[in-house]
Symmetry: C2
Subunit: 453 residues, 2 copies
């Protein structure tokens, strides 16, 4: 099976089948599709059409589809289902971590109703314990479904017990070894089971080299660990070292993508997680705040330039290079801050404090600035045939480049030091700040040169 | 074991131990560390110190460390090793995909020398076949190490054969089922092995629901498939449907991160893959090209404004709002293009052509533009007490916002249509373009209003 390609034609034909209540065609259309594919179809349909498709699927498959829906679409579907339906048809078919995710998205009162409707006491208590972990921690990310064996069992007992546990689990990644107090001791590679005599004690063959996180480890750190050590699954322990859950790589891939996208969106001046399929209203709301910052910056810039109205009257050509100065200040600032933000996100900055990084950035800015200001000197002199103007633009550009680069490096490092997301410093924020400072520098140097030369 | 934290103190102490040839301390320091951690240490040391650490490790572990080094650092190490050392000490300890990666990084002549020095004929031929796949395809990403069984074997034969195969493989993810011609039929879940009688024919118990890619599938698509369907491993087939390799999630996590980082860097005006630890020279080279684009844009802007020198002489206040216009044009353009680029990267754009997307973007721009231009009207009127100026700024802003939004949406969509990376349209490129167009609009509207009112 290869990748499923959703087309407009496909959507139209399934809409038609639903409208004429042609259940056979509906079933044929979605038969054999992965739940993620069906979810993609539902994301494009309206809710009533979508509900009909779900009703035509069996409970387990319908539950898998609901998990794969986009958050805002899923909320619409959950809104249409009663607490009992959610508990009995949806939650009982899901892994504990997915079930907890769904329940945590419900309104408070419905949440409790759903939990009280779950028949399986063990599952209900798993879900309640998962709901207690703070969002963004390993505890909130983990699932309870895993296979574990005790160190004092024989391989034979272990295999028997594993068979029983495996029935409830889709995919076996790693078998964990715990002691009598459920304290995590290590892991038993699946291939060991294929190669060890059945009477061997687990305690004699398990491996201790296992990496763990605590329930309160932040999800960014979980992602870094799994990525760095190429892990597919990572066990989670509590304060007493007891095995309480496991995090699988697919959940972490989502975290990695979310983190990267958040930084990208902040750098592009989009404040919350939106994409092109959201409504005009959602898109506007996500973009307006940063535009207002840019607007305020533009007004402040107008006030700065206003102070030099006299210079502009005398030398209107001073105004010609305003966009050059602000554009370069902005570009340099964004470059510098992006390099720092990405370094912080990847945990790959050079060791040492802020000072060595600023001095390196100073060297880069000096190199770039020298090249660019020489070009500016020659360019502006030849085009406008005015040496004083050329000198002003060139000197201002060099100064602005260095200041913008240092600010672009300094601001995200400082934010990070005070536990504020450094990505906030990229994009519109750093450009606006550098615009204003750059204009100050430009007009100050201009005044100096034109009055003294 | 939790995450290893590299500190400057640690680096200093290991440097000292190496300098006084204190092998015992060196070994103590790195004992029990994951190869990825040792690689992190080596990234910080100079090459001679690093080589001494590698010489003190056993061959398998040293090989794993070399794979984990950053590309540029690894090149330095490989440069110090002879072809024979690379073949016999490094390559033979590696999985085929890692070995092919290392060899593909070598200079052409050394590459052949290394391959001719590999003793294991099977491994050598695996590597040669992997080297033939184009970079960026599934073939180049896959490894040869996997476990497969034939559909006409019994479970007992299969388990015996798997034990043999498993000895050479670190981690068992999925067992593939092939026919006599090595054509991929399906998969055998590990848990089935725990629950099926030993005399059953594999052909009767395997599952057909398996997702595959072709050797020539682009790596971006591989990543999308594994992400969407939450896969840990994905088999690769050739033109004849034969199983030729498998791709594991850890390699794909790297692809996902690289893709996201590339887009982020392009949007920030950094042209190649650099980070803060690179040299001043590398950083300058990666940043200068985009700055030159900004520079040219600034010069063109100067020429545009130069056409309106007369207006500026008459109404110097026109110059005050130049930064406001360019900043808003830039911010809007970056927002719009970022939303499109991210949508394309995630394959999550709404169905339908370019037109519906432009019309949605138009609505968003109209909403944002109305709010912002009203603020601009009130703000500029009250601060500068000039109705004509306020009207000019306000009308220009609305027009500029709409044009910039449409361009920001249109340009990346067109680039993508013609198979050019749409991320090229973000950042400095779109800001520069919008700056120039925005200034044209601003001064044209200004001339119109001041001469007609």
């Amino acid at each position: 099976m290869e990748k499923f390609e959703l087309t407009r034609k496909y959507i139209k034909s399934i809409q038609k089948a639903i409208d004429r209540k042609d259940e056979k065609t509906i079933l044929e259309k979605i038969d054999g599709l992965h739940p993620a594919d069906v979810a993609e179809i539902l994301d494009e349909l309206d809710i009533d059409h979508g509900l009909i498709i779900l009703q035509n699927m069996d409970g387990k498959r319908a539950s898998d589809v609901i998990i794969e829906l986009e958050d805002d679409i899923r909320a619409l579907f959950l809104d249409r289902l009663s607490s009992q339906e959610i508990a009995e048809q949806l939650v009982e078919n899901l892994d504990s971590d997915d079930a907890a995710d769904v329940i945590s998205e419900l309104p408070e009162d419905k949440r409790e109703e759903v939990i009280s409707n779950i028949d399986d006491v063990e599952q209900a208590s798993d879900i309640v314990s998962l709901l207690n972990y703070e969002e963004g921690t390993a505890g909130a990310l983990m699932g309870k479904e895993m296979i574990w064996v005790s160190d004092d069992w024989t391989v034979k007992t272990a295999v028997k017990e594993m068979r029983r546990q495996a029935e409830q689990i889709d995919q076996v990644y790693t078998v964990y070894v715990v002691d009598a107090n459920q304290k995590l001791l290590g892991r038993l590679p699946v291939k060991k089971l294929l190669t060890t005599p059945v009477k061997t004690r687990i305690g004699d063959v398990y491996r201790e080299d296992i990496r763990v996180v605590k329930t309160w480890t932040p999800q960014e750190e979980v992602a870094q660990i799994m990525e760095k050590y190429d892990l597919v699954v990572l066990p989670v322990i509590d304060e007493l070292g007891r095995l309480v859950g496991r995090i699988t790589i697919d959940d972490v891939v989502d975290v990695i993508k979310e983190e990267a996208e958040k930084d990208y969106q902040l750098a592009s001046g989009i404040s919350s997680d939106v994409d092109q399929t959201d409504t005009v209203w959602q898109l506007t709301r996500a973009r307006l705040p940063w535009l207002l910052i840019g607007m305020m910056g533009g007004m402040l810039s107008a006030l700065v330039i206003g102070q030099y109205e006299h210079s502009i009257k005398l030398i209107p050509a001073m105004a010609f290079f305003i966009p050059l100065i602000t554009a370069m200040a902005g570009n340099i600032g964004v470059q510098s801050s992006a390099i720092i933000v990405q370094g912080l996100a990847n945990n790959s900055l050079e060791l040492g404090g802020i000072l060595p990084k600023l001095s390196k950035e100073f060297s880069v800015a000096l190199l770039n600035g020298t090249v660019l200001s020489l070009i500016a000197l020659v360019g502006s002199y030849f085009v406008f045939n005015d040496f004083q103007l050329g000198l002003t633009v060139s000197l201002a550009l060099l100064t602005v480049i260095i200041v913008a680069a240092l600010l672009g490096t300094f601001v995200p490092l400082m934010l990070d030091k005070y536990k504020i997301d450094p990505a906030l410093a990229t994009g519109p924020f750093i450009t606006t700040l550098n615009d204003i400072i750059g204009l100050f520098i430009y007009f100050m140097i201009g005044q100096l040169i034109f009055t003294s030369l």
